[in-house]
């Protein structure tokens, strides 16, 4: 096998040195009753060429093998990825390195992630960003745990019902065993988190609000800040569309204590939902409670600048059971990819792309309205919005996929049973005016 360099001679010579009679003899120390009696029942090995055929066949069972038009976001967004990014990130010095435990031969990763942390703090208006988390959902759950642990009295976290449904489930999973509880903040007729309802809630250690929220609407974060300040609890903001903050006021400037976000929009493929990029940022105050890795600047023995993993005393490999989290490997390569994307876009680029996302979404909304769709809300949004669709839409939607590879929105009923015939639509910079006009034509009733 081409991955295994050992020749027969190599094996013999080496066995002589180790004093074993055969390769099997290497396992003599394992009691027989612990060894498996039958082999591994999987298909026999494929050549590189058989693998290519097999995998292309599998890939072609996914509609994505064709260039399809995706009017769905809901946590995974279709954005342009500059050709330089896949090229640069595939350089094996980045791709095949481990976590930078030996900083002298990891300065590439370390400076790259330090630059990532810096650009994320710029994007979000926060003091500190971690070196990455798995995804927004897990980052948000950890943020909730920080808030919950901080409180000696209250064991509830108030989470907006317009936080991504999956994220709310993850929070549940993460906090339940430790005896914490999640309460959901209902949403208003405007498709926004209900501040009034929140004000009534008691025993809350913190609140989590997503903006733009799952309906695509932009929340009034300042208003929530007033409440968390009054209650003296932590204010957590989350988001699934990072490009929104190329245009919107950033959460830091609106008073967020912790921000958990999804970075997939920053140069990462949708890849059936993973690996994405968990972003986690906080104020200085939160520094020592943040989970996961942090890169810091320092000096070498000659006084030259350099970068290292730092504040490891929060981490499991030192603190073990007392660590702020169990996270070890994070999504480092995707953080590096996002850094490349942010450096490529730059200040003017990210703003222009953000504007185009909003423009396309507004145009899509108008076009659907002219095709008889009713806006569910009249609230400012970024690149997603909810529409009440005509009776026959579900059938039309199916044929649109079959005949034109067009995915016209996401049915919200499974997530919000009360929202029958409501669909979540998304348009990004990859959607052209023609795409939208065609869609509007097709769905006109």
């Amino acid at each position: 096998m081409r991955y295994l360099p050992h020749t027969r001679d190599d094996i013999e010579t080496m066995l002589k040195v180790t004093g074993h009679s055969s390769l099997d003899d290497l396992f003599a120390g394992i009691p027989d009753h612990l060894k498996t009696k039958q082999g591994i029942d999987i298909p026999e090995s494929l050549s590189e060429w058989e693998l290519n055929t097999h995998m292309e066949a599998l890939a072609s069972l996914n509609i994505a093998c064709k260039t399809y038009k995706c009017f769905i976001g809901a946590g995974s967004y279709d954005h342009y990825i500059p050709a330089i990014i896949p090229y640069l990130i595939s350089r094996s010095e980045f791709m095949t390195a481990y976590t930078p435990y030996q900083p002298e031969v990891s300065q590439g990763t370390l400076q790259g992630i330090y630059e990532f942390q810096t650009m994320i703090t710029e994007l979000l208006g926060m003091d500190i960003a971690t070196a990455s988390h798995y995804d927004c959902g897990t980052a948000l759950a950890e943020a909730c745990l920080i808030a919950l642990r901080k409180s000696s009295t209250d064991n509830k976290i108030a989470v907006s019902s317009l936080v991504h449904p999956s994220h709310r489930q993850i929070i549940q999973t993460y906090i339940r065993p430790a005896g914490f509880e999640m309460v959901e903040i209902p949403y208003t007729k405007e498709g926004l988190t209900d501040i009034a309802a929140l004000e009534q809630m008691k025993g809350i250690a913190g609140i989590a609000v997503q903006s733009p929220n799952f309906f695509g609407n932009i929340e009034d974060l300042k208003a929530f800040k007033t409440i968390t300040e009054a209650k003296n609890i932590l204010f957590i903001v989350s988001f699934t569309e990072a490009l929104a903050y190329g245009l919107l006021k950033n959460p830091g400037s609106l008073g967020a204590d912790l921000v958990a976000g999804e970075g997939q929009s920053l140069g990462l493929a949708k890849s059936f939902g993973g690996p994405g990029l968990g972003l986690l940022a906080g104020t200085h105050k939160q520094m020592r409670s943040l989970p996961g890795r942090l890169i810091g600047k320092t000096k070498d023995a000659n006084g030259a600048d350099g970068f290292v993993l730092t504040l490891a005393t929060r981490e499991q490999h030192i603190r073990r059971e007392k660590a702020s989290s169990n996270i070890c490997s994070n999504n480092g390569l995707n953080a590096m990819t996002a850094a490349m994307y942010l450096a490529t876009a730059g200040k003017t680029g990210i703003r222009e792309i953000a504007l185009q996302n909003h423009d396309k979404a507004e145009y899509l909304k108008k076009s659907l309205m002219s095709s008889g769709f009713l806006p569910a809300f009249h609230t400012p949004f970024f690149n997603e919005f909810v529409m009440k669709v005509p009776e026959n839409f579900e059938k039309k939607r199916k044929t649109l996929i079959d005949d034109h590879c067009v995915f016209a929105g996401l049915n919200l009923e499974p997530f919000y049973p009360e929202l029958k015939q409501h669909y979540l639509f998304c348009a990004t910079e990859t959607i052209s005016k023609d795409d939208i006009d065609n869609l509007a034509k097709e769905v006109r009733s």
Binding site: Y3, E93, A97, R320
Partner: protein, 485 residues
């Protein structure tokens, strides 16, 4: 004489991104607007984030230069203990990049995602066969995430049995993530010691195990690179007291085709696809940490789960006992594609050869170096072996000094100061993809360094000399944290 790989050559200084920024540059090709601009109310919008402004060549050169400051498996031998730094096949990258996979939206619906679902279903089956378990979830995003997933299931199982427990037994040979994962479930760690020969003794476990203890977390082979030969008795003890056994399978690379954890009393096990199954580490992830379980725990697996009926595949969520969801979508699908490609490329025989050769390489190093470095536990090892700096103490040379000196010889150092049970640990995991010549070169390097420790300790204290930067001040970094530019 063996020539060592380490030497020095021309590389490049490169400033921080924003030091290169000039107003008005943009490396992004901006789409031409084809619809009207539609401004948001001014009170919602802020200033554009102050990101660096560069040309495309600036960006390309920046990251090309940064990459040259890094050391990867493709650069040289990377015997980082407990990390299984094997070769990451390039064909796996080709497979993951196929439009049908990389372009797939997670919410396209089962009907239009049959390729992805089938791949996930098959991969679960493969991993179940390899580990000897009944069912697998691919949702965990990394090894530690898998541990959390597994411990949540144990926690849910006790809850369902009507009486939650408060403690979990964790041996001193366990990886740091184990206790951390357990405490996320509210379990208090009961740390027990491994025996004099580095493996767990049933008596120790029996002494610690009681009706308030949820179970035990065992890494097997353990972090000393030794196989836990009493695992079955230990499992029986734990089970007899109503506990469950969590297996940390991150070291599975040692025993594929030899031992199936599911057959020897383990109730739940996580794997690291980014170790055993050749997916790249990426300088710290993304990885993937599938969890395998027996029939007992299957009802508790996270949702959604992939099921097959007839010849179609679908996600199901209606599992009353599930611990719930632990990833926004289905886990790190892109990593699954790579691991699936690897398993298909190897086949059963190939995977078994992997473990045999990984163990051969480790034992060969152990035997060749045990006169040179102190070997606290001198017994046949599995995929890795742990030395320490006992012999070098007399010259005031530490494991760290030797590790840094190895860089000058052109090798990535082993894992140092882990596991904690061995003071000054020097933990070598060569993996099966390193050839005998590379390993001989490594052995020769370590011997030369041990010699230098006697003859020229200063040289080790000054190491590394050839790298772009010398030893970095980690204390300064932690004392005055500077986490952004």
């Amino acid at each position: 004489m063996i020539q060592q790989p380490g030497t020095s050559g021309l590389i490049f200084n490169e400033p921080l991104l924003w030091e290169k920024s000039r107003m008005g540059r943009c490396a992004m090709s901006l789409p031409k607007p084809d619809v009207d601009r539609n401004a948001l109310d001014a009170d919602l919008t802020g200033d554009a984030p102050n990101l660096p402004e560069l040309s495309e060549l600036d960006v390309v050169r920046h990251y090309t230069r940064l990459s040259q400051w890094n050391f990867g498996v493709d650069s040289g031998m990377y015997p980082l203990g407990s990390c299984t730094m094997k070769y990451n096949p390039k064909t796996n990258e080709v497979q993951a990049a196929r439009q049908g996979f990389s372009g797939a939206h997670p919410l396209s619906g089962d009907e239009f995602s049959q390729g992805a679902l089938k791949l996930m279903y098959n991969l679960e089956q493969f991993l179940a066969k390899i580990t000897g378990f009944h069912a697998v979830t691919l949702q965990p995003a990394a090894g530690a995430h898998g541990e959390l997933c597994g411990m949540l299931m144990i926690h849910a199982w006790h809850a369902r049995n009507g009486r939650q427990r408060s403690k979990i037994i964790i041996p001193d040979t366990a990886h740091g993530t184990n206790p951390a994962s357990a405490s996320l479930c509210g379990y208090e760690s009961v740390n027990i010691k491994s025996g004099p020969n580095g493996i767990l003794e049933p008596e120790t476990v029996a002494a610690a195990m009681d009706e308030d203890t949820a179970g035990i977390m065992v890494t097997n082979p353990n972090t000393l690179g030794l196989f836990e030969t009493h695992i079955k008795e230990i499992a029986d003890i734990v089970h007899s007291k109503g506990g469950l056994v969590y297996g940390d399978g991150a070291n599975m690379n040692a025993i594929m085709g030899i031992v199936k954890p599911g057959e020897i009393g383990i109730d739940v096990l996580h794997l690291n696809l980014h170790k055993t199954f050749s997916t790249p580490h990426g300088g710290g992830g993304p990885g993937s940490g599938p969890v395998a379980v027996g029939k007992t725990l299957e009802p508790f697996l996270p949702v959604p789960r992939v099921v097959k009926d007839l010849n179609t595949y679908k996600f199901i969520t209606d599992c009353p006992d599930t611990i719930g969801r632990i990833h926004t979508f289905y886990g790190h699908f892109g990593i699954m594609v790579r691991a699936y490609s690897y398993i298909l490329s190897m086949g059963a025989q190939g995977l078994t050869d992997v473990s045999k050769l990984a163990v051969l390489n480790a034992n060969y190093i152990k035997e060749s170096l045990k006169g040179t470095l102190n070997l606290p536990y001198d017994r046949p090892c599995m995929h890795e072996c742990v030395f320490n700096d006992e012999f070098q103490k007399q010259y005031h040379i530490t494991t760290m000094d030797m590790a840094k000196r190895l860089l000058d010889y052109g090798f990535h150092p082993p894992t140092v100061y882990f596991p904690l049970v061995v003071e000054g640990a020097f933990m070598v995991e060569p993996t099966e993809t390193e050839s005998k010549e590379n390993i001989d070169q490594f052995i020769h390097a370590v011997k030369s360094i041990a010699q230098e420790a006697k003859d020229n300790p200063e040289q080790l204290k000054k190491a590394p000399r050839l790298t772009k930067v010398t030893r970095l001040d980690e204390v300064l970094a932690a004392r005055k944290p500077c986490l952004r530019g």
